[in-house]
Subunit: 372 residues, 2 copies
Amino acid sequence: MAEFSPGLEGVVAAETAVSEVDGANGRLIYRGGYLIEDLVPVTSYEEVAFLLWRGELPNEKDLDGLRKQMAAARRLNDSARKTLAAMDPKDDPMDLLRTVVSAQGATPSLTKPTLDEAIALTAVFPTIIGGSYRRRLGKNPIEPRDDLGHAANLLWMLEGKEPEAHRVHWVDTYLVLLADHGLNASTFAARVVASTGSDLASCVVGAIAALKGPAHGGATLAARNMLDKVGSADNAERWLTDAHARHERFSGFGHRVYRTYDPRAKILREMAKEAAPELHRTAARTEEVALKILHDAHPERPNATNVDFWASVVLTGAGIPKELFTTIFATSRVAGWTAHVLESISDLRIIRPASRWTGPEPGKKPLQLANR
Amino acid sequence: MAEFSPGLEGVVAAETAVSEVDGANGRLIYRGGYLIEDLVPVTSYEEVAFLLWRGELPNEKDLDGLRKQMAAARRLNDSARKTLAAMDPKDDPMDLLRTVVSAQGATPSLTKPTLDEAIALTAVFPTIIGGSYRRRLGKNPIEPRDDLGHAANLLWMLEGKEPEAHRVHWVDTYLVLLADHGLNASTFAARVVASTGSDLASCVVGAIAALKGPAHGGATLAARNMLDKVGSADNAERWLTDAHARHERFSGFGHRVYRTYDPRAKILREMAKEAAPELHRTAARTEEVALKILHDAHPERPNATNVDFWASVVLTGAGIPKELFTTIFATSRVAGWTAHVLESISDLRIIRPASRWTGPEPGKKPLQLANR
């Protein structure tokens, strides 16, 4: 039988043209062969979502059509609205998102995933996240605005006031950067669900479930929590040295695929100077010290800063409450999840790996039962 | 880079002592090394769930403790009860299950999966399925009964009357047989979600999402629907010959792992004689003709009958409405899902496979944008 590679590291589980992580060279490539650093300065989230779904960048008419279609799909249906109201707003925002997306996607009979469904599900995330967050604050949910782009509408749904252009820009850039990333665990979960012939909402719910984990989408909050503990640039060396002595893991460093600096982290680090100057100083010093400690301890490992570290600074600067970080990650990645599902169903084959039995030899142990 | 095996066929994705499918010899082995055919005659679902979770069969005290713990966990919490009431009862029962389990599992902060959580989630499935089904019929949900075992309580929640012992036995046997099955797609989905450090409810919700697909849990309903179309033993040859000529796939035949008759199907086929004599006759003739047609068309393939085919007959005989088949499958498999999660978190490593890029060479295509 084949070699066992824990975590399926290095095992090719799919062929894809949606995105490629070139870990050795620190490159993230989106559909069509575009490098992330080429896309970021010139595209909005809607354009990148279109690219991931359709394989090419939209022309003016395409983009206008997509914006209208998304705006029209921002409202919750009856089941989702009532489910949102049924939930305890103090629960984890990812649990609320998982449940309300599940309600929004419920249908009387099984449907095959379509692009229209992908667009509609992507469009509705800010409504769910905003509605949950407003209820958490004891405020009423806000109606979505048809005239705003995706990033601006997201801030609008949280705050109920017209967001400043620079904050919209930071959020939009974050959404572009995180929209897809090869076979990360949540995207892979979506593809596993899709492989059984299940519906698109099931795929997305499975992906949300996986993204929640601190080793995945939860890492951005973990990075921010670490920066909160560090507190200031001056305190970085002391805090990190102590934490290292306690064998505490530094949040925001290391990645399964990148052997060098994450290209998304590079863009966000630059943006953080403007978005959150004070936190940027703390983070820059934290990064410097952490990389030195990690390099000294494990010179053989590629201990580069990952996207979560600098994303936590930019999202903070954009005014996103930290308890929502993972849901904002989901708001971006849903374009990638759905693009992967739509790609995979053209040649459906159930993902059903083998396992290696580590139990005792079968059929040898006598059956001893309690109740006879 | 490694070979690409579509659907991860033959790729070892985990080491496990929860269960083993010995496809070459047609054996299903549960934790401890027990063969399924040895367990079935002497164990209830609760005993097998205990075995999968704990690694050994319960003694009298263990079993009594588990029964009490499950009985005490059968009631929905506030969020789940309100969510169930918020949903449209005409929606797919698997969508309702996915959503209400998600609501039931929502918590204010991330928890590490525990055995107590596994027991509680397993215990509550019949309450959700029964509640959804009763609402679908326009009837009120029924309160769970603490004095009934898991299978009996499931029938009670659907019907609101004391179920006959023979029907309880058939359902219980089905639940024992389906409780685990190696790295099937839904269990694998649960393990992918768990690998990120996510919570147990997220793992189970991801697994429900995957089970829904017609290539997985949905196959039992598909088999029953095919038998409905066949209609009678006399009509089997004509219907199957015509369907084969139309290139229609026969439901209930073939499996990724078994190269021979599925040991669960063998047990259910025998039980079906008593549980549903009329449908058994139709099914037996359908099986005979289908296997002949499949063998003639593809003598090189192992075209044996799978568990879904005979499960559909036994569940019919036990009085389970066919639109609930997939949810009853979930009711059984949740023990396996949670056992796998509990096993996997002892050595957590994110499941993050590689992919093979099939898009154009990166960085070559000029960027052409709509809006500038």
